[in-house]
Symmetry: C2
Subunit: 206 residues, 2 copies
């Protein structure tokens, strides 16, 4: 039982790296079993087919993603009581974490599965949707907290602002990859951070 999960994890690790680099279709089961040191039948013992693999992959990815956000914004809330300050600190911590990735962000599985949506079944598309909705709920709650203390200078919706976090992250990943500039992603996040600060901080001087 323990051994099985280990092998499964090894397959998922290899698959995740390959899928993020080459996409779903270009990642062959054969290459995964070579990298994992397993036979083809061994692979199909763990996953009924490639779609099942994709599902397991996405599930694990989203869980990990949530864990990271929990940690970062949890830490941010320890460092500041004010909801705006906590959020700004969270964005900074996230930007620093992304800066520290040596080869840049490896890519977002949600995004790769969105840009290849018709290659996956409805269940996966629904998982993707739920992931995006969870991001909206998470950051939306933060913006609503902030709005109870600060009045935004522009009448923007908390959910739309929350979506902007996801947008900047997903867009920043794409741009970083296109430009081959890993710094772009953390930089874009800091630009967004400036916007948020500008939106909620009271106007300075007369």
């Amino acid at each position: 039982m323990r051994k099985g999960e280990e092998t499964r994890a090894k397959i998922l690790d290899a698959a995740e790296a390959a899928m993020l680099a080459k996409g779903f279709g270009a990642t062959s089961i054969d290459e995964l079993i070579v990298e994992t040191g397993i036979t083809k039948s061994g692979f199909f013992y763990h996953f009924r087919d490639k779609n099942e693999l994709a599902k397991a992959l996405l599930e694990r990815y989203i869980e990990n993603d949530e864990r990271i956000y929990d940690e970062i914004f949890g830490r941010a809330h320890e460092l500041a009581d004010d909801p705006l300050q906590a959020f700004l600190i969270g964005l900074k911590l996230l930007s620093e974490l992304l800066s520290d990735l040596p080869n840049g962000h490896p890519g977002c599985l949600v995004a790769t599965m969105c840009t290849q949506e018709r290659a996956f079944d409805r269940e996966i598309q629904e998982m993707n949707r739920q992931a995006a909705l969870m991001w909206r709920r998470r950051f939306g709650a933060m913006f609503r907290e902030i709005m109870q203390v600060y009045r935004p200078r522009e009448p923007l919706d908390a959910d739309q602002l929350a979506d902007m976090v996801s947008t900047v992250l997903e867009g920043g990943i794409v741009l970083s990859k296109a430009l081959k500039e890993p710094k772009s992603l953390p930089d874009q996040l800091l630009v967004f951070r400036s916007f948020v600060r500008l939106l909620f901080q009271p106007a300075v001087q007369p």
Copy 2:
């Protein structure tokens, strides 16, 4: 000659739709020739291999993309002399254009080829990079114009702001697809528009 270009265009049309929907790997040449009403040999007469097809596809896509931006921001500059107003009008026009797409944005080829980068050769990766750099130059020039008239309230770099346009577009496309909410993309663009207005418009009241 005329006939050949026509067939070529038909292949590219079918390929673009399929690639944006399913990705590169999941799009088979066989399905393209069925849709185009051509034989397999006929396909390989036009494109040496699948990578050649991808290259032609990307080239055409980027040209069209540039044309659209030329039109929209050209029109915006006709409607306002002030560079900030022109840019804000341009974003609004772009948002409206994206709102009018009945099934939402079909996806960005640059993004799909970035999220599957290792499936393509270096030439394509370089084309992608050049496309992102052109966006940066285009919007960077606009922000520099704006900055000659308005002082930003936060010390942000024109190129980073330019990249933010690409980020919001690419990220908005991903989010729209994930959420299955076509409105998200134009909405996110309008949120960004509010940020730009906030950044450059002088503070109201003492």
